[in-house]
């Protein structure tokens, strides 16, 4: 599939670059836009972004590889990022990870065989008052917080997520 912004993404792109003094400054939001549009940041996507921003591709490579939240490999439709920083760790963040590992049948850093979930452990997501929690980022760029978790609540959330994921494409098929 050709790497090209849809009409909607194109409008967002134009809006984004109008907000910054130069194109280089718009790099990070545009990469996020590209990730939600194309599922992951492949070499082709970096090239396309460079082209659109009229910067040299090495600048995009530099930024995209520096930040871990740009996926340079296709991951699952939903990226579950469990916080294990202090508050969450105290309130059972590690237990949530263990439970998710058992339930999904994968380890941290892996993706389920059906391509639905990728599991990660992350640092503080600024939701200490509602610990433990995880963030789910979807391949369409949506981000959702799930808070005050326990095993029961995780089951519910996973069911909820599974329903939602039916409608989403696999990131590796998005471009």
């Amino acid at each position: 599939m050709a790497v090209e912004f849809s009409e909607e993404a194109e409008a967002t792109f134009q809006d984004l670059i109008s907000r910054y003094p130069n194109n280089l400054a718009a790099m990070l939001p545009v990469l996020h836009l590209a990730q939600s549009e194309f599922g992951w940041i492949s070499v082709e996507v970096m090239d396309y972004v460079a082209n659109r921003l009229d910067v040299h591709p090495t600048k995009v490579l530099n930024a995209a590889t520096f930040y871990t939240m740009y996926n340079k490999q296709p991951i699952g439709k939903c990226h579950i990022q469990v916080c294990t920083t202090l508050s969450c760790a105290l309130m059972g963040g590690y237990e949530i990870i263990d439970y998710l590992e058992d339930t999904l049948g994968i380890r941290v850093g892996e993706t389920t065989p059906d391509g639905r979930f990728t599991l990660s452990e992350v640092e503080c997501l600024a939701s200490c008052g509602t610990a433990p929690m995880f963030q789910a980022s979807f391949c369409d760029g949506e981000i959702e917080y799930f808070e005050n978790l326990d095993a029961e609540r995780v089951d519910e959330v996973l069911k909820e997520l599974n329903e939602k994921l039916e409608a989403l494409p696999l990131p590796k098929d998005m471009h």
Binding site: V43, D47, H56, K59, L61, T65, F66
Partner: protein, 515 residues
């Protein structure tokens, strides 16, 4: 102009001078990795931290400008502590594989470790491992473990060549220099990145494992790759050139030179004509001088009007000056042709289309290029019999392969063909007399670059084989033919030449500055 006190030395400097430059003027070295005088200043290596009186923290000397009344300490306890810490950080994951590193001996990290750190490593954990041999470009290899991420190479590609091939990927201790996937560090100046790399991260593929740098002897010379005349350090070991390195000259090439020029040293050691030959038989100089003078004298007696001479813009001014005297006073011919390499690639930076180092020298010595016939005329004259005796300097002709073949075929028609050249090419076999000339590395002389700048080059080592400088060959023949040209040293020719020609000797290259 601001007055600044550096380590107790009062010095007045231009406004806008950085502390690093002011310290250099005051005679103090401030160690630095990322700073390079020709590139922008990111101040990222932190090696040049100095103490400024009244400032809260140490300041990077490469970036901070001096102000009036500033008091700077470059050797205070705080500074020494900072220097040790910075070096400890840099060496954390550095492999210290100096014994197998080409940079060893000219490595800033080695030098600074000895001068500013010299303490045992406190690291007991295993070091990071990365790809040791990453072929980042056709001429350059990258070793991520040695890299200190000073970004000099990245800035070179951004600011000097404008090609932007390089960047840092990943972060923290996994950061490395890379090109965009599918691209290479492939620009005409790529080996300059290895020059400016302060450590052994980027190294020249050509020079790889060739010679330890402390064995090299360095001679100031001029690149013969094109008419730009980039100033070089001609570095040699046991009578063989090991590499060229650019020599700073702001009038010509700044700190840089092109890859093609850098590799042009190979010509000096390829296909050399090393013995005087007469019809394919090796002679000594005594024998060949007698034979040559007799044959030339006979040819002149028979038909002086059919004597042609090919002058080479590859030869130095001194050689050309004697060629001119030899032609005018001994041979008395006026049928001159211009040899030299054909035009090639050029760009708007250093590389010039004219691949001959001394065309302007021919112009200056012979008073213009109008008297010279071109290759087509040369071939026509030989084919028509207008030229029966040809004396040729060097083997190059500004012609394509087809025209060159026509020339080689036409050589059969000559009664006498004398070749005086560095290389055999396909001509030495055809020559009735082949006289071995030496390269620019084996003699001294002057080249005039495209801009009219006369630049001297020095002798690096003794001539290979039995070869001699062109001017000495002309002197031998002239003496044998009864009209001696009397010179002993090149500088005698040089003095006379500059009196005779209009070219002014303004070409003393500036002293190299610290990189």
């Amino acid at each position: 102009m601001p007055k600044v006190n550096i380590n107790g030395t009062e010095i007045e400097v231009e406004k806008g001078t950085t502390i690093l430059k002011a310290a250099a003027q005051a005679g103090f070295e401030v160690p630095h990795f990322c700073y390079h005088p020709a590139l922008s200043i990111p101040a990222n290596c932190r090696m040049c931290l100095v103490e400024v009186e009244g400032a809260r923290s140490l300041e990077p000397a490469c970036y901070s400008e001096v102000t009036d009344g500033m008091v700077v300490e470059t050797k205070s306890e705080r500074v020494i502590k900072a220097q040790k810490s910075v070096l400890e950080f840099i060496l954390l994951n550095h492999p210290v594989d100096c014994p197998i590193c080409d940079q060893a001996g000219e490595c800033k990290l080695q030098d600074y470790y000895m001068a500013y750190d010299a303490q045992e490593s406190r690291l007991r954990a295993e070091k990071n491992q990365k790809v040791k041999v990453f072929p980042i470009g056709p001429e350059v290899l990258y070793d991520g473990e040695r890299c200190i991420l000073c970004t000099r190479c990245i800035r070179f590609c951004e600011e000097i060549t404008g090609t932007n091939e390089l960047t840092i990927v990943q972060r923290g201790d996994s950061a490395e220099i890379r090109t965009f996937p599918g691209k290479e560090l492939d620009n005409p100046y790529s080996v300059c990145t290895a020059d400016i790399c302060p450590v052994g991260a980027l190294t020249s593929r050509d020079f790889r494992f060739k010679c330890r740098v402390w064995l090299l002897q360095s001679t100031d010379s001029v690149c013969t790759g094109c008419s730009n005349g980039c100033n070089i350090h001609l570095e040699h070991f046991r009578n063989e050139i090991q590499r060229y390195r650019p020599r700073y000259n702001p009038q010509v090439n700044d700190y840089w030179m092109c890859d093609a020029g850098r590799l042009s040293y190979k010509e000096v050691h390829t296909d050399r004509l090393l013995r005087p030959m007469s019809n394919g038989a090796a002679l000594n100089w005594h024998g060949v001088t007698e034979t040559a003078s007799a044959k030339l004298a006979r040819a002149l007696d028979d038909d002086a009007g059919s004597f042609g001479f090919v002058v080479s813009p590859q030869a130095s001014c001194e050689d050309l000056f004697l060629a001119k005297r030899f032609i005018e006073e001994v041979l008395g011919t006026d049928q001159l042709y211009l040899g030299g390499k054909p035009d090639g690639f050029e760009d708007d930076f250093l590389i010039k289309a004219d691949k001959n180092p001394n065309r302007q020298g021919v112009k200056a010595v012979f008073g213009g290029l109008n008297d010279f016939g071109d290759v087509d005329k040369l071939i026509d004259d030989i084919e028509s019999g207008a030229i029966k005796t040809l004396y040729m300097m060097e083997t190059h002709l500004p012609a394509d392969a087809e025209t060159r073949q026509r020339f080689v075929d036409a050589l059969d028609k000559l009664d006498l063909f004398v070749l005086q050249a560095q290389h055999c090419a396909e001509l030495a076999n055809q020559a009735h007399l082949a006289l071995p000339a030496c390269s620019h590395a084996e003699t001294e002389g002057t080249f005039v670059n495209f801009d009219g700048l006369a630049q001297p080059f020095e002798q690096a080592f003794a001539p290979h084989g039995d070869s001699l400088p062109h001017w000495q060959i002309f002197m031998r023949l002239a003496r044998a033919m009864g009209q001696p040209l009397t010179y002993t040293f090149v500088h005698q020719i040089r003095d006379e030449m500059f009196q005779a020609s209009d070219a002014d000797e303004n070409g003393e290259p500036a002293e190299a500055q610290a990189e």
